[in-house]
């Protein structure tokens, strides 16, 4: 099955496509049988000894044996460990209700900020932006967020956001921005100096030297969502020429 999957890497797969374990009828007796383990990522599901595709998209592969479907989506489903940008919607007692764009609001206690104690409460108001990660995120329970990692450090998380602009992009663009060695990010660095906070729920916050540049950046990111690499490079070079 590993070989069957490797063949289809980079191709578009649709829900309903499946991969069976036993494709060859012949089992070699002389060669040692290596148990092949395939790690399924998002979009792939195991059912018995078959691997089913449940989202439409392109099959991707990462060594040694990780496969997943790269699909395009705008609606975010919370996943544990992912960092997102949320808006504080309400404050009820000790708990903040944070809207992250999902089906319900997540809860964030005031103690899950770095250096917070019962007497030293963090300064969080309704309407503030928080960068937090999920500690509980499954379909049966209310999602919970935290602004510190397991050792208690903030690690970049917490309240932020004066003077910048928040806008929505697709989840695919967010993943492209966050992937290591992202071309999009390096092109952007060369174009405009800016601050960028990227939440995996499709929300991006940006701040540049002034309002005009921030707007240019927001519009650029929203439009290069649907562009191929070369189109994006052309667009960036046009903007650079218009600027200088």
């Amino acid at each position: 099955m590993d070989s069957a999957l490797r063949e289809r890497v980079g191709q578009v797969l649709l829900p309903g496509d499946e991969f069976c374990c036993d494709t060859d009828g012949i089992i070699s007796l002389s060669e040692t049988v290596r148990p092949e383990k395939v790690l399924c990522g998002p979009g792939l599901r195991r059912s018995g000894d078959r691997l089913l595709v449940c989202k439409s998209g392109v099959l991707r592969h990462k060594e040694p044996n990780v496969f997943w479907i790269d699909s395009q989506q705008w609606r975010y489903v919370p996943v544990k460990g992912e960092t997102v940008i949320g808006v504080v919607a309400a404050k009820s007692g000790d708990v903040f209700k944070v809207d992250f764009g999902g089906s319900e609001q997540a809860s964030l206690t005031y103690l899950s900020f770095e250096g917070a104690t019962k007497r030293n409460r963090p300064n969080v108001q309704v309407g503030d932006l928080v960068f937090a990660q999920f500690i509980v995120a499954n379909k049966d329970m209310e999602p919970e967020l935290t602004c510190m990692d397991s050792s208690g450090r903030a690690n970049g998380m917490g309240v932020f956001g004066g003077g910048g602009l928040l806008f929505r992009v697709s989840l695919g663009l967010v993943r492209r921005l966050l992937s290591p060695g992202s071309e999009l990010r390096s092109d952007l660095e060369k174009l405009l100096p800016c601050e960028l906070v990227v939440g995996m729920n499709g929300r991006v916050w940006t701040r540049a030297a002034d309002v005009q540049k921030t707007l240019v950046l927001a519009n650029l990111l929203q439009s290069c969502d649907t562009m191929s690499c070369s189109q994006r490079r052309q667009l960036f070079s046009r903007v650079r020429q218009g600027a200088l």
Binding site: V79, A89, R119, S151, R153, G163, L166, A209, V211
Partner: protein, 433 residues
């Protein structure tokens, strides 16, 4: 569904941008978004796109008994539907405040202005008149529903054809479209509404607000006019105080805009008429070109990049407090990535090594692969539990309760079930300070 709260930073940014005369999509203060008008296969069906706001209007007619107070006039009925398709905050069937407001405005704009000759809709005085019904459906809400609805309604009314009727003595014959060509309604003038949004207590004005601008505005002024510069309806909401000069200025702007939009509507109607005459297939199915992916396709956004002329050095010098923009995560030690600058940690340092390992692991894996991460986190947490008693913090709490997850069954591949197991029976361990 509950409405997404507007964050303070967005509100502040939008107001600041408006003070500098900059709009989110690069438009000027008095610019309308791109208007597209398409017709359906039936007479009286019209789609209007105002930027991303989409509206559909359908006109239909039937013979009914007239109102007793007006026995020789036809009846006009307007209805605006807000469905969850337009925005998740709209509820189906519920008469929300916005829905009532839009309905009233459309009625005043079209009915009270007497743009349709209702007496021509009379068939038999006192017994049979035409009831013309205009249904407007909101398909997508990106601000300024009123303008889009008014353009759609009046265009659909101009496009509509009612069946021909002949009276011979006491007999009334209604001809089907095959027998005799249906005839258009007699429309005197085309009232079109123009919306103005006000910010900072009336200091700043924007025409055709988009959805985010609508959320931060102080008040809205709606002027319905026709191309003969006659005001059909004017309404101010939001409780802002407007000066006489402001209202006069708005009406002048409105007259310019209305004449442009009326030209567009007339041209669209003519094109449709020509297409139908030539026998071409026309209508909704034909107006969508085939074999082209239109989902995820965004039109060209005109962005103004002319003023972005400063060199990088200038920017750095002029900036007041420019934070250290680190383009990529700092790597202080191989295997550790640092994003942002946290405060000096007061936590125990014995756990640093394990924490570094964890950070390393999490950075290596792609964020897509949640299953893998899940297993690694489980492993790390197990190692933690085997450590000695560590001073956690100088908090004044007496005892610190730490919950440890059970060892998850690693053979299971589904994320769902392993998470469920973890939540099921956590073991507690008490540690004294």
């Amino acid at each position: 569904m509950k409405e997404t709260p507007l964050s303070n930073c967005e509100r502040d940014f939008l107001l600041k941008a408006i003070e500098e005369k900059k709009r989110l999509d690069g438009r000027q203060t008095y610019d309308y978004r791109k208007i597209k008008i398409k017709f359906g296969t039936d007479y009286g069906c019209c789609f209007v796109d105002l930027g991303l706001t989409r509206v559909m209007a359908q006109v239909s007619g039937e013979l009914v008994a007239p109102k007793e107070s007006r026995p020789n006039e036809g009846i006009m009925f307007f209805n605006i539907e807000l469905s969850p398709m337009a925005a998740p905050t709209f509820e189906q069937g519920r008469q929300s405040e916005l829905s009532v407001k839009l309905n009233r405005q459309l009625e005043r704009c079209l009915r009270n202005s007497k743009c349709i000759d209702t007496e021509s809709l009379c068939v038999v005085s006192g017994e049979k008149v035409w009831q013309i019904r205009v249904d407007v459906h909101m398909l997508n809400h990106d601000g300024n529903l009123m303008d889009a609805a008014s353009i759609a309604a009046i265009t659909a009314l101009c496009h509509f054809r009612r069946p021909d009727v002949s009276i011979q003595g006491d007999e009334v014959t209604v001809y089907s479209p095959e027998e005799r060509d249906p005839i258009p309604l007699s429309i005197y003038h085309m009232p079109i509404s123009v919306s103005f949004s006000f910010f900072q207590q009336g200091t700043y004005l924007l025409v055709d607000p988009c959805e985010r601008e609508e959320r931060v505005m102080d008040g809205l002024l709606m002027i319905a006019m026709n191309k003969h510069r006659e005001i059909c309806s004017i309404q101010s909401s939001g409780g802002i105080m407007l000066l006489k000069e402001q209202v006069m200025r708005c009406s002048k702007i409105a007259s310019v805009k209305v004449s442009e939009i009326t030209e567009l509507v007339v041209k669209a109607l003519e094109n449709d008429k020509k297409a139908r005459k030539a026998g071409e297939k026309c209508g909704f199915a034909e107006s969508l070109p085939q074999e082209r992916i239109t989902a995820l396709k965004v039109g060209k956004t005109p962005v103004e990049v002319m003023d972005v002329t400063e060199q990088a050095n200038d920017i750095v010098q002029k900036a007041e407090v420019s934070p250290q923009t680190v383009p990529s995560p700092l790597v202080p030690v191989p295997g550790v990535g640092q994003v942002g600058q946290g405060q000096q940690t007061t936590w125990g340092l014995e756990e640093e090594e394990e924490e570094e390992e964890e950070v390393d692991q999490e950075e290596e894996e792609e964020s897509d692969d949640s299953t893998e991460q899940d297993k690694k986190v489980t492993k790390m947490e197990e190692e933690d539990s085997r450590g000695d008693v560590v001073e956690i913090s100088d908090s004044e709490e007496e005892e610190v309760v730490i919950l440890h997850p059970e060892t998850a069954d690693k053979a299971l591949k589904n994320t769902g079930s392993s998470l469920h197991q973890k939540g099921a029976a956590p073991s507690k361990q008490k540690r004294k300070k």
